[in-house]
């Protein structure tokens, strides 16, 4: 069976660090930064398990600020 590979791109400056994407991801791909903050001072969401993402879009769907763009490609 072909495996789906995904990638998320977070609009860091739009992110308010609410963390809803982190819990929405079934594979724990995302986490909030612990040291870095954006211009507004929020810890923002970032991809921590890059290879695990399947591009299911759960994180992006629950994101209240529309910060997350998701790409998905079938692994050949």
């Amino acid at each position: 069976m072909a495996k789906m590979r995904g990638a998320t791109v977070v609009d860091v400056e739009r992110c308010k660090g609410c963390g809803l994407c982190v819990v929405a991801c079934p594979l724990k791909v995302l986490a909030l930064t612990t040291k870095n903050v954006n211009m507004k001072g929020y810890n923002y969401a970032e991809t921590v398990l890059e290879d695990t993402c399947t591009g299911c879009t759960s994180c992006a769907i629950v994101c209240p600020d529309g910060c997350i763009t998701v790409y998905r490609k079938k692994e050949e």
Partner: protein
């Protein structure tokens, strides 16, 4: 396969809806409003109604909805959005007309306008964000505040002897002859968001088919004034709000 190979235009599967512009939203982190804004933006565009939508924003946290969703907006006085929408729809019958209101606006100061617009069967949709509290003014008791729930104006918890009972507006709306579709949804999980989007789409379609008035209640969170994290607020909502405000369609006469 590298990340760069995946991040290509042809592989795009989700992005912020086009109608939701780039203006940073003033909502608190994790606020349900943002999700509902996205759903409304998606449905308007998918229905091809961008050129024919007239939306009404309330007084409350969503007062600035007009800054974020790129359709024509009118900003109403507190509670009066359904009156504006009634006139707009009657004057422009081929337009998609909806209001977007919170519980203080819709269920308290605007109860008369809400009930009468719904009961007249105006071909509009009312999107009702129920987070059981006044958000914009700093967390005061709302008509929908749960019994025992603490707010800054009922700091010892809502007491029915002092404050009466939480108002179930969707249940009232379902009893009105003029309503076509009354539903109660949430937006705290992926599955719930998909259902809520379908509900908004259905309501908008019924309104355009002239089937009567439609109320989509979204049981929501206000993590800031509930004094919880966004994640905890979603859990609290599921455990406390949903039992009192049960989810699902209360009425669907449009089928």
């Amino acid at each position: 396969m590298t990340r760069e190979e995946i991040i290509q235009a042809e592989n795009l599967v989700y992005r912020k809806p086009e109608l939701l512009n780039d203006v940073p939203m003033h909502y608190c982190p994790g606020c349900s409003h943002g999700v509902v804004h996205k759903l409304v933006s998606e449905v308007v565009a998918e229905m091809g109604m961008t050129e024919k939508t007239i939306a009404i924003s309330p007084v409350g946290c969503a007062v600035f909805a007009y800054k974020y969703i790129d359709v024509d907006w009118q900003e109403a006085a507190h509670g009066r959005a359904p009156a504006l929408a009634s006139a707009v729809k009657r004057l422009w019958p081929d337009r998609l007309v909806f209001t977007y209101q919170g519980d203080g606006d819709l269920a308290c100061i605007g109860t008369a306008e809400t009930i009468h617009a719904l009961n007249r069967g105006e071909n509009i949709t009312i999107i009702f964000i129920n987070n059981a509290i006044y958000g914009m003014t700093g967390g005061q008791m709302a008509p929908t505040t749960l019994l025992g729930m603490k707010t800054v104006t009922c700091p010892y918890g809502r007491d029915p002897k002092l404050h009466g009972y939480p108002l179930k507006m969707a249940d009232i709306a379902a009893q009105l002859e003029g309503t076509c579709y009354v539903t109660r949804q949430t937006v705290h999980t992926v599955a719930a968001i998909r259902k809520a989007k379908n509900a908004i789409r259905k309501a908008f379609e019924y309104s355009m088919q002239g089937k009567g008035s439609n109320l989509v209640e979204i049981v929501s969170t206000c993590n800031t004034n509930w004094r919880m994290s966004p994640v905890k607020a979603n859990q609290w909502m599921e455990e406390n709000m949903v039992p009192y405000y049960p989810l699902g369609d209360l009425k669907d006469n449009g089928k």
